[in-house]
Symmetry: C2
Subunit: 722 residues, 2 copies
Amino acid sequence: MKHFFHIVFLGLFLLGGLACNQPVQDQPVATANGEEGPRLLLTAAGVQAIRAMEGTPVIDRALHQLQTKAESAMQQKPVVPVPKDPGGGFTHEKHKANYQDALATATWYLLDGNEAAKTYCKELLLAYAQLYPTLPLHPQAKKQAPGKLFWQVLNEEVALVHFIQAYDAIAADLTAEEKQQIEEGLLLPMVVFIRDETSKTFNSIHNHGMWAVAGVGMTGLALQKAELVEQALYGTDPSGNCGFFKQIESLFSPDGYYAEGPYYQRYALMPLVLLAQALEKNQPERKVFAFRDGVILKAIETTVQMSTSGGAFFPINDAIKSKTIQTPELGIALPVWFANGGKNQALISLMESNGNLMLTDAVVGLDATPAPFQRQSVVLQDGPKGQQGGIAVLREKNAPTGLEVLFKYGTHGMGHGHFDQLGLLVYDDGRELLSDYGAARFLNVPQKEGGRYLAENKLYAQKTIAHNTLVVDQMPQHAGKVKVADAAHPWQVFEYFSDGIQAVAAADTTAYPGVALQRTVALVQAEQHTFLIDIYQARSAQTHTYDLPFHYHTQRIHLSPEVPQATALLQPLGEAQGYQYLWHLGTGEPSFTAAFTLLDQQRFFTVHTQSDQAFAVTQAAIGANDPLQNLRRENALIYRSEAQNQTWVSVMAAHGHYDAVTERTEQAYSPIANVQFQPDYAAAHLNIRIALTDGSAYTVTAYQGNSALPTKNRPFFSIEIN
Amino acid sequence: MKHFFHIVFLGLFLLGGLACNQPVQDQPVATANGEEGPRLLLTAAGVQAIRAMEGTPVIDRALHQLQTKAESAMQQKPVVPVPKDPGGGFTHEKHKANYQDALATATWYLLDGNEAAKTYCKELLLAYAQLYPTLPLHPQAKKQAPGKLFWQVLNEEVALVHFIQAYDAIAADLTAEEKQQIEEGLLLPMVVFIRDETSKTFNSIHNHGMWAVAGVGMTGLALQKAELVEQALYGTDPSGNCGFFKQIESLFSPDGYYAEGPYYQRYALMPLVLLAQALEKNQPERKVFAFRDGVILKAIETTVQMSTSGGAFFPINDAIKSKTIQTPELGIALPVWFANGGKNQALISLMESNGNLMLTDAVVGLDATPAPFQRQSVVLQDGPKGQQGGIAVLREKNAPTGLEVLFKYGTHGMGHGHFDQLGLLVYDDGRELLSDYGAARFLNVPQKEGGRYLAENKLYAQKTIAHNTLVVDQMPQHAGKVKVADAAHPWQVFEYFSDGIQAVAAADTTAYPGVALQRTVALVQAEQHTFLIDIYQARSAQTHTYDLPFHYHTQRIHLSPEVPQATALLQPLGEAQGYQYLWHLGTGEPSFTAAFTLLDQQRFFTVHTQSDQAFAVTQAAIGANDPLQNLRRENALIYRSEAQNQTWVSVMAAHGHYDAVTERTEQAYSPIANVQFQPDYAAAHLNIRIALTDGSAYTVTAYQGNSALPTKNRPFFSIEIN
């Protein structure tokens, strides 16, 4: 009855809308598991069920990995050094390894009953409980909010999320004294540091804040301190605009898209999912997985859809490009989606690809037959209410390793956002054709600024010229101001999916005041051809310099018209706004047409561009003004015109086959002969003719947004062969 | 008896040394199979045995591939276009596909009895028999010896090798008229063209010549024209320095190393092995596999050993870097090695990796259990008599994906040779750390000079500065003259393999007259460390400019001393001899020490260099004077001194681990603190001290070749911890 009463009591608070920072005095939290035994993610019942699932490949692999990790940790005594090094350095990596080892040994103890594993975990936590109260701020503290064990508080929050799970797993088998030492020497001091001493982060709407509330909330659930749970869920700032639920509301769109992009989405996913699962287990009455129409499960699915067929996350915004769906965060998130989202057997295949399954109660039921997982084209609305533009991923149908196109027109992405609205990324077989630079950062490489973001991240990688989108007057969008960019966003003009057509159009008038931009991207599968049609329009009452860049790092084997290339003297392309990082290889004579062909490992890719304004083609290469070689040496073609109104129509095709081992080449030339159109900026539609080398032609009609909506006979986008 | 007599008759010719161009009038050749049925590679007995091996994975896969290839070919009527296009173009690729399809359908007919396959092959050969007599030289004929079906005669020879096998497989089931049409319209005219109209190639000591004699020889065996067999085996040039056996003697060293390097070795392997197998089948009394102590089988093994743990052939000389052991040539050569070299079960694993098994009599017996194949360190003597230097591949022991080092000090390699004596290539996990550019060529890419070698191949890729070896006075070795280079070679000073040491030293006095060069390369596995020690010494009575380049294309994350880098203006590093293709990024102040660290996908690699002469570090990047972007944009560090005598000691270590998915970094810093030595050019040995960051040190003693041979106590190379 005591438990029941308490649940009702909390329910009332919820209904009434609990204000932030309103303390709930130390009343024990209701748990699903009684007073003894683990409360968070892996319960006694879960352990029993998992042991009964031995023989299931994903489970066996996870058990084996866990055993290996735990036993590897136990080979030597715990080492808990005084914090000293930045990311990638010894103490940084040791503390990271330690919190992972604590969790691995504790979980292995639960699943296997291995006493040595429990002892290892206990001694590790006790050693931290000795050290932690003595620590000042980390000596490598920089501008970012510092931690004590780590140079930034973010890592400290991640450590708490691990420590509390490890402690929860072994607490029932510790003495009262040991429990007191760990709780009062480590866990609660970390809570105080994270919640109070770095309260700005704790109450922020940001992935760092998500980790902070997860650590504090899970500590509250494990230690049965209701106050901490409330503070985690609703924050401590009187504004009320903070805490777990506010973060979910603000950071994720109704489609489960995370404002900073997929690289950070998968990172925010782990605390989101861990706290949600712990909450569901202990306070099911909160119905956390039903919150906002199930946005937490949608966020997991969206994370997966935002990866290429090769498994890498689309590297928009500040992203480390080598991050893939093997990421450990999905090892916990996928089972949670499985357990709470209808036990979809295709997720078992995904977990096999992930290979880092975390063994919690959520894996129960994985002993079904795996089904193939197919990525889909998705159009995701962005913004807390889904009204701030969006992001579209178009994928070739019936070709799981075919073309994939990402089109970005949502929110800016806060401090990690790039000024790349209406930007395009193109992939084939999971390989980059038109590429995004990602972040200028060598994650965890101590030789490179301790693994932190490099200056070139803001100065080049975030700038508009570093992306496949139009640059006006050589300035970044929104004049390069994050606050301005965060306050604005493009809008979706239409999405049109029919037969062989997948088309999305978006427009913007805020990035460059006085210039209206519209881009229409259509992946067309007609007859035996697949084309990507890209219509980029700029309209202005004033004359501007328009730069349309194409970034690539594969081998370019053809370019027309001819562009003379500096052979004996190179200078930077500009002095600021990212242009200073590009060597100016050469610029050709103005023309209305250009085409280039790339050869990636196995296929050719040709881009034909036709313009209504004459433009000059510039060849550029990253590397100027980069004395420390902080940037990769990649290439760009930049098409430049001076105009008021300007329409570029590019038709892109992946074609042929190249096999160096068997020395066979097929269709090295694009099937496209030329692209023609007559611009009429007053008309509702733009008509384009794509002539093929085999004599046939396609007629494309695309809504350009200038008058009444299209009728049934004249849809947003159509293509006909003739 | 007639056959027996004939064998003896030929045997006498052999004993007496048959002069070239001595015709043997149309006496039928002895065959192992009587007058009817296929004579070359796959006999009726072989067909029976192969069908009995169904269920063996490599056989099933090969049967399935063959069926797929044959059935895919048979989906449309044969198309035999009039030759028009260069490499990569339609007619080029079609004729290539046709000769492969002819062989596939004919072989499938033999194995499956599929009548449609036989008909397809027959119609294809008849169509060629119609076309071939009408053909002039190929319209795209360039400087290289032209063909009729193809722009170069090489492809024509390859076509004949395929056509004759296809014809042999179906001939018993053709009418006399059909046989006559094909023999007189296609096969014999091709023989005449190859043997007589391009006799210079036919009689050359060159891989093109190998293909030529294989085609003619196999035609002789299949059509029972002994004259052709003799001409193939002994050439038609009265000099006597030609034909199959002379080619084997001249092109392959006794260790089975092919003078042009592994990329061309695997290419020469196919005609070598095909003609050898056909000869062994039809004229076993020639004991072709015993020729020169079994050099043909050694050549196959050497081809495999000349590939990295990742399967790519070491790209020395003019090599296409994407060529791997999956190459079809090994699909025929590996079974021949298996059948004639003791049925080594490890070869079955290799065939599984190859994946392109050719079904001939040689595969009989493959239904054994596969065993793992381990690459070994090898020291191969070069030159026809094994007295022209050599090539060494040192591999980390007990680490199948560890460090691999190639050290080249053999013959130049004829027209495809690079001026890179004493050059070094370093790999880790099959990935290039210190890299070779390979050939400047886009094989089969029509947009790039029809897939032929580019001008930059001779002008950059072959030059000494493009390699990891010393450049004296900014000139290529042998002044860049192929004939001079072919006439000279370094010599091996010692090889020393003991305990954890694998050391090879080589010296040269011909590359730069007046300058003696010696390089000692040692892969050392001591305690828990693996080091690569590289001692490069130059001695001269005159002062020279010495440039020691390190080429790489992975990310460099550290360099000391600091080297200022041009940020706003780039110029080429030089005007000629390959230097004109390098942008000069910057040069530092002279120092005696330099170190740099690369980060490849998973590991760090640091090179510490100590010198007895002050040297300046130059950063360079490929790309100057390259208006068509024919070269890849890769990097080099160049250490330059002005001196008479000069010793560089570099200690290289792969260390740590980098995992971007789990975000873990280990040992980002090299275990080496510094390298010290006191040069004494008069002494027999050089003493080096390698100090580690953990306080320990190694003492290295290396024979530097100046006096009496080392004693047991002072071996060629030793290392001690102290």
